[in-house]
């Protein structure tokens, strides 16, 4: 089956085997990309604000006192692995593997996402013990405006994983559900990209210039 060029959705896609889902998915996925770009501007601005506020520590604790690189390293590995597992869930869907495979990779991703959140919250609590609360300085406000925003996205992604996992059981492999899996995978990869920005600019940048 040859598809018209305007209907071949690029990037992550379902492929020819899901022709009916593919066409519906194309428009929705493109829309989701546009949404992600809008979301990207939110993050971009928070990065810009963080950069302008690195110096605004107002005598409070700074990056050297507060950042725990070991924990950041662990979080990075977890998030990176979860990006792989969500990709494998996508592939299981694309190649019509048994549904249990998709659910399995979903579950692994969910566990990884939740572990990431646990580590992140532990970091925040450790920071707070050292006086690193957002109310302390402009720098800390900028930090807590940005990093938890990413964490909130991860939490939303976890909720989405759960809901979609239930919908896979209840509603079955409909076109709609397939398209949602594609978007969830996109969203999850996007969060990984933002995290690279966070380790590079927030953590290492903070340590280098703060």
């Amino acid at each position: 089956m040859k598809r018209a060029p305007t209907h071949s959705y690029p990037g992550i896609n379902l492929g020819e085997r899901h022709a009916s889902a593919h066409k519906a998915t194309e428009v929705v996925t493109f829309g989701f990309w546009v949404f992600l770009m809008s979301d990207l501007v939110y993050f971009g601005l928070m990065f810009a604000i963080y950069i302008t506020m690195i110096d605004a520590q107002a005598g409070g604790p700074g990056p050297h006192e507060l950042f725990d690189l070991h924990s950041i390293f662990a979080q990075t590995l977890i998030l990176l692995t979860s990006s792989l597992t969500v990709g494998l869930a996508m592939l299981a869907l694309k190649y019509n593997l048994p549904r249990v495979r998709i659910v399995f990779w979903f579950a692994v991703t969910l566990v990884l996402g939740l572990s990431f959140l646990v580590l992140e919250v532990r970091d925040f609590m450790a920071m707070a013990e050292k006086g690193g609360v957002p109310q302390r300085s402009g720098f800390l406000s900028a930090f807590f405006g940005l990093v938890p925003l990413h964490g909130l996205h991860v939490a939303a992604g976890c909720l989405w994983l759960i809901v979609l996992g239930i919908q896979l059981r209840v509603m079955g492999m409909t076109d709609r559900i397939k398209s949602r899996v594609v978007r969830l995978a996109l969203f999850w990869h996007f969060l990984d990209l933002i995290w690279i920005g966070i380790i590079t600019i927030v953590y290492f940048g903070g340590l280098a210039y703060g």
């Binding site: 506020m53 302390r136 800390l140 406000s141 909720l159 919908q167 509603m171």
Partner: protein
């Protein structure tokens, strides 16, 4: 900063109602405030009573509130915008009256005056201009590109719901508590918790955040709709100019609304959680706010004016009976303006203290925008040149726009020079400038669109005579109100001042008040025109659907269009597809076969989110935490439940489509083909006789 001792209703008490102040110490100021609150309350009561009396709750729910049809959503947007416009205009008149009552303090308290200019600006930008622009776009864009609906019909409904609930917050602020006094820009630290602990800035913040989400979703929707749902054969270079401006405007929304959301949310973090983004102490930096706000603010004005440019492009072409002149250059100019609009935001704060180099860079970037805009003005004039012009109402708005907008644009070029800006910043000169681009630019365009596409939406034409009266009153009212402000601004009168002393200002203030009253008359004339047109609708029906000898696809279908828009999706081979079809004798074809059509099914999710987001905002403003949490949870649950719904489309059988379409084709055959000169007479049934000799 949040204090601990609050009751069940947060900080909401009896004293929060302006009525309390009226009873304690009555005065002109309190009477004006309570009159406004009374208008809101009485308005709601009257609407509820009328709906109950005529038993319209059922139809309202079934046909409108739960509809995901882009046409109905578009109409609801416009109705909402007009209601808000009425409030905005009234506030403008009160402000003009206050300043005309000088020298001295006038009749309003300073705080009250500050609330007036804050709500006036907020309403006019976010709840008049944006919903009006996207109401028209909602109606017209899918029809123009040959689509059955927008890309995401339910999301469209949600956008409307969020915009309306945010607008309602401004209405609620009249009755409960007070609105922000920080202007529509809400600059901290003045709007921070340290200087402004009341509910005013919170109303502003949440109204902006929620309507901003709605607008962002709209932007995504229209970008995708135009990108992906064009009829076969409609390449980008065959896209009607109006759709080009809407796609550019949507892209601006996608990238420019986030800065506003960030600015408002960070201000909220400062106010609610004691963060230090924009505070005076502990490393906060209020200049970050100005920067963020105008990162949004400048693209915002272009996302409003570009669609108006698109409307004028359609109007000039249609009523000159010519192809739009310089289509390619208009497309390039539109894209250039869209990109350039991201590079000029600093001109809103030339005086903040950055180096002359930075000011010069942004000043030059600002002046550059005049080039593509100038290209557009010449293209429009060239479209008119040797056209067979009819001075219909939309055309008259267009001509008023051409002349007045150039003045506003040029005063913008003056302001783009940082050295001049240092002299006139924060004066009424600036107020005159942006009203000069927003009224003749955006508002006249929207009114032209309203007159132009009304017959398509409702099946009958608007009254021509009252339309002309409207044009005259708007134009005259605008000139009387705002041209004097240029002069008084150059004399040095600051904007937003509730009190002034220099007697030289007085004559200008009087003229401006007279102008404001004329503008009020103009608004009334629009309503009278609507009423007269509805009364006379039997004589002005245009069922065949093409009252103005239109050139684009939306005129090739019935007026009003069926729910599915096109019985058969057209194949496009020309930029002015319908004009080409008429000239080639290929208009109104009888399709060989019909097919089943899927249209979006009704859903209540938009309305539910409208109500819940309204409750959520109110709870946050008044610190009613349990309610805020409850509303948040319900919003998330509502979305999750909705995502389980699998039957979102309704199928209209091919037979039904065939019957409706053939009945309409029969109507077209019966209608008299009328010459353009007769299009305002009652002979016009919506079938145009194209002039086969093209204008030279």
């Amino acid at each position: 900063m949040i204090t601990q001792d609050q009751g069940f209703f947060g900080r909401l008490t009896w004293d929060s109602f302006p009525v309390a102040a009226l009873i304690r110490h009555p005065g002109t100021n309190e009477i004006v405030a309570n009159a406004a609150a009374a208008v809101v309350v009485v308005g709601v009561v009257v609407v509820v009573a009328l709906l109950s009396w005529f038993r319209l709750w059922g139809p309202l729910w079934r046909d409108w509130l739960t509809s995901a049809d882009h046409k109905k959503i578009g109409i609801m947007y416009v109705v909402f915008a007009v209601v808000m416009l009425a409030r905005g205009v009234l506030e403008g008149v009160v402000m003009r009256a206050q300043q005309a009552a000088g020298p001295g303090d006038g009749f309003l308290a300073a705080e009250h005056f500050a609330e007036l200019f804050s709500t006036h600006g907020t309403i006019m930008i976010f709840f008049v201009a944006v919903p009006f622009v996207f109401g028209i776009a909602n109606y017209v864009v899918p029809l123009m590109i040959g689509a059955r609906d927008v890309a995401f019909p339910v999301m469209n409904q949600i956008s409307l719901g969020l915009t309306v609930s945010a607008g309602m917050m401004l209405m609620v602020s009249l009755v409960v508590g007070e609105f922000s006094t920080g202007g529509w820009t809400a600059y901290p630290p003045y709007t921070g918790a340290a200087f402004n602990p009341g509910v005013g800035p919170d109303y502003w913040i949440w109204a902006i955040v929620v309507s901003g989400i709605g607008t962002t979703l709209t932007g995504i929707n229209f970008a995708v709709t135009i990108y992906k749902l064009r009829a076969p054969g409609m390449t980008f270079m065959r896209l009607p100019m109006y759709c080009w401006t809407i796609i550019c405007s949507s892209i601006l929304i996608v990238f420019a609304m986030p800065p506003l959301g960030v600015a408002a949310l960070l201000l909220a973090a400062d106010r609610y959680l004691d963060f230090h983004f924009f505070t005076n102490d502990l490393g906060g930096n209020m200049m970050n706010y100005a920067n963020l706000f105008w990162l949004f603010g400048h693209p915002e004005v272009y996302l409003l004016v570009l669609p108006a440019y698109g409307i004028y492009s359609e109007v000039f072409a249609t009523f000159s009976a010519k192809r739009l002149y310089g289509y390619n250059s208009l497309v390039i100019a539109t894209m250039s303006i869209a990109i350039l609009s991201f590079t000029v935001w600093l001109h809103h704060f030339f005086t903040m203290g950055q180096s002359a180099l930075i000011n010069a860079v942004f000043g030059i970037a600002t002046m550059l925008i005049a080039i593509p805009t100038g290209v557009k003005v010449y293209d429009w004039m060239a479209t008119l040149w040797r056209g067979r012009i009819r001075f219909s109402v939309p055309m008259l708005y267009g001509l008023a726009f051409l002349m007045l907008f150039v003045i506003g644009g040029l005063s913008g070029v003056i302001l783009a020079n940082p050295t001049v800006d240092y002299q006139v910043h924060n004066t009424l000169f600036l107020v005159a400038h942006f009203h000069n681009v927003l009224l003749p630019g955006v508002l006249f365009g929207l009114l032209a669109a309203y007159n132009y596409w009304f017959p398509k939406a409702f099946g009958f034409r608007l009254n021509e005579g009252w339309g002309r009266v409207s044009v005259a009153l708007w134009t005259l009212g605008f000139m009387l109100t705002f041209l004097p402000l240029y002069f008084v601004g150059l004399l040095g009168m600051p904007r937003r001042s509730f009190s002034w002393e220099d007697p030289d200002f007085h004559p200008y203030m009087i003229v401006a008040l007279i102008g404001a009253l004329v503008v009020l008359g103009a608004l009334l004339s629009v309503l009278v025109q609507l009423w007269v047109s509805i009364r006379d609708r039997d004589r002005t029906r245009v069922p065949a659907g093409d009252p103005w000898d239109g050139r684009t696809l939306e005129w090739s279908i019935p007026a009003p269009p069926p729910a599915y828009n096109f019985a058969i999706i057209p194949r496009v081979s020309d930029r002015d597809e319908f004009a080409a079809a008429k000239e080639g004798g290929a208009a109104y074809p009888s399709p060989a076969a019909y097919e089943d059509i899927d249209i979006p099914r009704n859903t209540g999710i938009g309305f539910i989110l409208c109500v819940l987001s309204g409750v959520w905002m109110f709870a946050l403003v008044w610190w009613i935490w349990w309610l805020a949490i409850l509303a948040s949870v319900l919003i998330i649950l509502a979305i999750i439940f909705w995502s389980f719904d699998s039957s979102t489309e309704l199928t209209i059988p091919a037979e039904e489509v065939r019957k409706a379409h053939e009945a309409w084709l029969e109507q077209v055959r019966q209608a008299p083909a009328i010459d353009r000169d007769d299009e305002t007479t009652s002979r016009n049934r919506g079938l145009a006789r194209p002039d086969l000799e093209p204008a030279t």
